[in-house]
């Protein structure tokens, strides 16, 4: 660390101070720095205010959730009404609360589905559209359009498609009669998959745009070199393009993981996250929002979600800080 500090310190002096430093005379005090007083204040304000905001609006509520997860509180009355009950919320979660394990499982399925299907599909579309095929802009707009819509709207659109009697899908399949109709959103053995298709409809466009942006910045010389060396299209992609695109790949990976963990809107808009669509986020909401809330119990579920989320976050930070080196 010291080595690195000394090295970077010696290479940067005037640049780090910015243009302002040179326009002012050097301070007379023996203790001086390359940053003027104004720079220092600016830096502290610029770093301090966001830090303060993050502390107040994110760190404190997060810590509060962790503390609340050991309590029983219905949200009514002052802080004095909060009762500490130790690990009861966590033991209830595991032993009594039936939606908990299905929710964990569904979050995991969501993640795997996104990782294996939605995200690769988005990348595939990006590679196709990068070929400047005819009408590429139309395809781009069509694929990107769902991303512009809020997930609440996406949920509504797909409800119209999946509705048992009036829905598009059952009418196309000719299965609208009592007895043979498919309850896409009501049958707990298929509704998660139905929702995943809707969520992927959006995720594919999102990944496609990100990846397409990366491909546009890809150095064509590398591709030419690969083809001169006799590499096929597929080989070029997997041996040259994909490795070079590593920074983008990591961004996409992180986005995929975060989108999967925070999956909420579609399940909640469909049926409040009941009946086969349980997700950790909907369980939190169902316990905390509403007429009588179980804030401690909901917080315990939120803490589980937090613990799961910390993994990918650490991975991401580790990678991105390493990139900086």
């Amino acid at each position: 660390m010291a080595d690195r500090a000394a090295r970077s310190g010696s290479t940067t002096p005037p640049a780090g101070a910015g243009g302002v430093a040179s326009s002012r005379p050097a301070p007379k005090k023996k203790h001086y720095s390359l940053l003027t007083r104004r720079d220092t204040i600016t830096l502290w304000v610029m770093a301090g205010i966001p830090t303060l905001l993050v502390g107040v609006f994110i760190l404190l509520p997060t810590l509060a959730s962790i503390v609340l997860s050991f309590t029983s509180w219905n949200g009514i009355g002052g802080l004095g009404a909060i009762k500490f009950i130790g690990l009861k919320n966590y033991s209830d979660l595991i032993n009594v609360y039936q939606p908990f394990f299905p929710a964990l499982e569904h979050n995991l399925i969501w993640l795997v589905f996104f990782l294996l299907i939605a995200t690769p599909l988005g990348m595939f579309f990006a590679v196709l559209l990068d070929k400047n095929i005819r009408g590429t802009r139309i395809y781009q707009s069509a694929l990107y359009m769902p991303v512009v819509l809020s997930l609440a709207i996406v949920g509504f659109i797909w409800q119209l498609i999946y509705a048992p009697e009036q829905g598009l899908l059952n009418n196309l399949l000719g299965r609208t009669e009592q007895g043979n109709q498919i309850s896409w959103l009501g049958d707990p053995s298929i509704n998660l998959w139905a929702i995943l298709v809707a969520a992927s409809w959006r995720q594919v466009g999102y990944v496609m745009v990100l990846y397409l942006a990366g491909l546009k910045g890809f150095d064509p010389v590398l591709r030419e070199a690969a083809s001169i060396d006799g590499a096929s299209e597929v080989q070029t992609f997997f041996r040259v393009v994909f490795p070079v695109m590593r920074p983008i790949n990591i961004v996409i990976l992180v986005i995929t993981v975060i989108e999967s963990l925070r999956a909420f809107d579609l399940a909640f808009i469909t049926n409040k996250g009941l009946n086969g669509l349980e997700l950790l986020s909907t369980l939190v909401t169902n316990n905390i929002i509403g007429e009588t809330s179980r804030i401690g119990f909901g917080s315990a579920i939120a803490v589980v979600l937090l613990v799961i989320s910390v993994g990918p976050i650490i991975f991401y930070l580790f990678r991105s800080l390493k990139e900086d080196d």
């Binding site: 830090t51 509520p61 009501g186 049958d187 909420f264 986020s281 939190v284 809330s293 804030i295 991105s320």
Partner: protein
């Protein structure tokens, strides 16, 4: 010195930046994490819309928070607000909020700066907030209007501490609805007993109809079916005790109800967990373009009749759920939830708010309400029924004919038990898999009930 100072600062920034990344990354996944302040700010913003009314006359100005934005009930509430303002010489500013939003925010709303008068539900859902000290007792109002109500309504308006907190406005029964023209065309007759009911169901199936429509996507409609089967098989008092936690869900009597329900499920519309109640109502009460019905009957609150075009409303008939031929036949209990008004804990103008409640508990104001809201009936016993349509007349008859009136599963039980994490989820699980091990199913319900904090 230079070489030290600059990197130190840079490292400091890196640390801060790292912290910011960690935390903002956290925020992505921890969005649903509760911040107690978030709930409070919702309440604050809801309350912020309440501007103090000017120009007090007589008793002065007060405000009312109303959980209705649908056309009919909203107009009906506004009409009695206007009527009572004129009667009592007060000024009332009514704030209308979407029904479900209001319900989700009620707890923080009542703790923030609520309106003086609040529209709400009778029964346990009232008692909970009364016990939390979020409501004002109105025994003196009941001293004035008490004679207008039967005992059942007074009980439904009374908190656990024996004080009254609520003035009933209207109620509506849960009944089996059908189209009179369909029954006439097919020669169906109204079933009085469960045997006649299943026989009619078989006949309807043969005619290509689903006997009973059902849509339980919202989680609560199936509660009505459970309630009525439970009361038909075990009586009103068992329902009340079960909801209050005095009886156990593992009781064999509860198991009998689910066994019977599983037996009857072939008569219900398939795929109910994915269907909203409005679609189920359409299936039974509104013919397709070709004039065909999907289902023959529908069991729900009479508000389902709102789905029927006004021109056809006189063709909608209904009857109480059939009897089971046991000792509870004479009791003939039904669900008929009561809506009405209560007072928040610290009304800004108590005399004016009480003057409104006294006016709301009279036949005159309820006649105005039921004149506009076509599916509801008045709760006062001296109600003027001259303006009732056929739906309201039949509703009033059914309520009068019931020996005991329950509120509803989610109004008689505690809300955290009845909600999506509790009975809504359990009943959906039953509908999806009625042949599951009922013993395990019911002990799961009881374990969930027992895990809830004492209230």
């Amino acid at each position: 010195m230079v070489g030290f100072a600059a990197p130190w600062r840079r490292n400091g920034l890196v640390t801060l930046g790292t912290l910011a990344i960690i935390l903002s990354a956290c925020s992505g996944s921890a969005t649903p994490t509760p911040a107690p302040s978030a709930a409070a700010s919702v309440a604050a913003s809801a309350a912020a819309s309440v501007a103090p009314s000017a120009a007090p006359s007589g008793l002065g100005a007060t405000t009312a928070g109303i959980n209705e934005t649908d056309k009919q009930p909203k107009a009906a509430v506004q009409a009695i607000v206007d009527f009572c303002s004129a009667q009592a010489g007060i000024t009332i500013k009514a704030n209308f909020v979407d029904h479900n939003t209001f319900q989700n925010q009620i707890s923080s709303y009542l703790q923030g700066t609520p309106d003086d008068i609040v529209k709400w539900f009778a029964g346990n859902r009232l008692r909970f907030f009364a016990a939390q000290g979020l409501l004002t007792p109105i025994d003196d109002v009941w001293a004035t209007i008490g004679a207008n109500y039967s005992d059942a309504f007074k009980v439904a308006s009374t908190g656990a501490d024996g004080h009254q907190y609520f003035v009933p406005n209207i109620n509506y029964p849960w009944v089996v609805m059908y189209r009179k023209s369909l029954f006439a065309a097919k020669g169906y007759t109204i079933p009085k007993t469960i045997a006649e009911f299943t026989a009619l169901g078989d006949k309807m199936k043969a005619d290509g109809l689903v006997p009973l429509a059902l849509g339980d996507k919202d989680g609560w409609p199936a509660m009505g079916t459970f309630d009525i089967l439970n009361m038909r098989m075990n009586g009103y008092q068992f329902h009340v005790d079960l909801m209050a936690g005095k009886e156990k869900w593992t009781d064999p009597r509860v198991k009998d109800v689910f066994t019977k329900w599983a037996e009857l499920l072939p008569y219900f519309q398939q795929g109910s967990p994915g269907r909203i109640w409005q679609d189920a109502a359409q299936a039974a009460l509104v013919p397709s373009a070709a004039g065909k019905f999907t289902a023959g009957m529908y069991f729900l609150g009479t508000f389902a009749a709102q789905q029927v075009p006004t021109a056809d409303i006189e063709d909608v008939g209904f009857f109480p759920f059939p009897l089971f031929g046991n000792k509870w036949d004479t009791e003939n209990a039904i669900d008929a939830p009561i809506d009405g008004f209560m007072l928040s804990a610290k009304p800004k103008n108590l005399p004016a708010a009480k003057a409104f409640l006294e006016c709301a508990g009279t036949a005159a104001s309820q006649k105005i309400y039921t004149g506009i809201s076509s599916g509801d009936v008045a709760t006062v016993k001296n109600a003027d029924m001259s303006g009732y349509n056929s739906v309201q007349k039949a509703s009033a008859e059914i309520i009068a004919g019931a020996g005991a009136i329950a509120q509803f599963l989610d109004r008689d039980a505690r809300a955290d038990f009845a909600g999506p994490s509790g009975m809504q989820g359990f009943l959906l699980s039953f509908l999806n898999n009625p042949s599951q091990d009922l013993g395990k199913f019911l002990s799961g319900i009881q374990a969930y009930y027992d895990s809830l904090p004492p209230q």
